[in-house]
Each structure stands twice: as C-alpha cells, then as structure tokens.
Amino acid sequence: MNPGAWIAAAALLAAVLAGLAWQRGNGRMRETRGDGPDLAHLGVEPGQVTLLQFSSAFCTPCRATRALCSDVAGRLDGLTHIEVDAESNLDTVRELNILRTPTVLIVDRSGRIVRRASGQPTRAQLMAAVSALL
C-alpha cells in the first residue's frame, strides 16, 4: 500500500474510535460541585427544579433535546425547562465552561447546579437525574 492508503486506513480507524467515544459520552449526567454563578438573569427561579439547556443555531441535536426536555418538564410537577442561546450568553458560557451544545444543566430548588450533561441525553438519563430532586 502507498503512504496515502495507510493514512486513509489510520484516519478511518481513528474516526471509528472517536465516534464510539462520542456516542457513549453523549448525554451522560455528571455530578457537579454545585456552586456557580447566579442564574437568575437566564430566568431560573428558586423553588423550581430547572432543566437549563444551552443551544446554538448550528446544532441539530439541540432541537431533539429541546423537544425531550420540554416534554419531561410538562409531565412532572415542579420541573421547568429553559433554553438559552449560547452565543448571546457567551460570558455565562465561559463562566460555566460550556464547550458544546446542547449542554443541559440541572438546577435544584435552591438554585445550585447539581448535574450537567453535554450532548443529547436520553429520556431515561434525564428522568433518573431529576427524579431524586423533585
């Protein structure tokens, strides 16, 4: 094989590994330290558990995530869904170290960020993460 063919094979192998890692990490809920900036300016209200979703225009999974989050929020009492545009809130995006869209933060009743997931979560991942807080 010529060098180009080897590079093509190596690139495809790397892409398969990267794709599998990406797929596995998508939507996985991680515990966070719980502190963070005040989120009131984004519409987060105390006394409610909030799904705070950061989205961007160039983002197809954001739309599916929006549909899922608002459906779950509509079914559960005390849970609200807020979607904010990452690009128009770049300061908050930097402060919270958000690297990708969609990123979903779960804010508890006292306004602390308790979990976060980057990439599109599944319904089961979302339900498991909020059920303990309600």
């Binding site: 010529n2 060098p3 180009g4 063919a5 590079i7 093509a8 190596a10 690139a11 495809l12 790397a14 892409a15 398969v16 990267a18 794709g19 990406w22 797929q23 961007s56 225009a57 160039f58 983002c59 197809t60 739309r63 599916a64 990452a86 690009e87 770049l90 995006v93 930097r94 958000i98 690297l99 990708r100 869209t101």
Partner: protein, 132 residues
C-alpha cells in the same frame, strides 16, 4: 430552510469515498473537484445532495423529522477550507500538507456519515467562545 437530514448523511458518505480516493491516488485535481462540490454546497447546491433528491429520496419513505439547513451549509464551508488546503498541497508539490488536510476532511466526513456527528457544528461554539 428545512431539509431532509438523510441528504447530508448521504453526501457525507460520498465525500468519505472521495477523500479515500484522494489519499490513495494523491490527486490534487480530485481534491479541487471536491472543493468545488463543497463550494456549491455552501450555497445549498451540493451535487451529491441533488443526486440524493433525484434518485435516492424517491425510493425512501418520508423523513421522521426535518433539520435546519444553516448548520449543514456552515459544515460545507469548513469542508471547503480543508479541500482547498489538500488541493493546494498536492498541486504545489507539498504532498504532506495535502495528506494531512485530506485526512482531517476524511475523519470529519466519515464521522458525519457513520455517526451523524457534525464536527464543524461542534467546533462552532468553541470558535465563538474564543473570538468573544
């Protein structure tokens, strides 16, 4: 504008094959032709997508959902950049530059075709964050 999301997936699969051929043959002209395809794609006129619309889509059922065309066009512009660097590398006798650019484009096209992961779209927020 809303499009059938299977169109870009199909186009990414064709693009994957083209970049494998570019790497195997080392053809700068093929890279330039792919750059022209990307350039048309940024205007919503991708020949691969047109082929999909004319010959593949009629054989498939209706899509379960539509997606926005803007991210797809942005990704085509990112692809255009890499295809141009690859073409310049091969044609100006800098084969290593050509291979590196073609390999990056191959990874991006394959991830889109096989996993539905739009690398250009993922990078967009990082780019906006960095620029401020």
């Amino acid at each position: 504008m809303q499009i059938d999301p299977r169109g870009p997936r199909f186009a990414a699969a064709v693009t994957t094959v083209v970049f494998v051929l570019i790497l195997v043959t080392g053809s700068g002209w093929l890279a330039l032709a792919q750059a022209a395809v990307f350039a048309l794609g940024t205007a919503g006129q991708s020949p691969y997508a047109m082929f999909f619309k004319a010959f593949v889509r009629p054989r498939l059922g209706p899509p379960s959902e539509m997606e926005d065309a803007a991210p797809v066009r942005f990704a085509q512009a990112v692809g255009l950049f890499f295809a141009l660097v690859a073409a310049a590398g091969y044609l100006l006798d800098l084969p290593v530059a050509g291979m590196v650019a073609a390999a990056f484009a191959l990874v991006a096209a394959f991830l889109n075709a096989a996993f539905g992961l739009c690398l250009g779209c993922e990078v967009f927020l990082l780019y906006r964050r960095a620029r401020g």
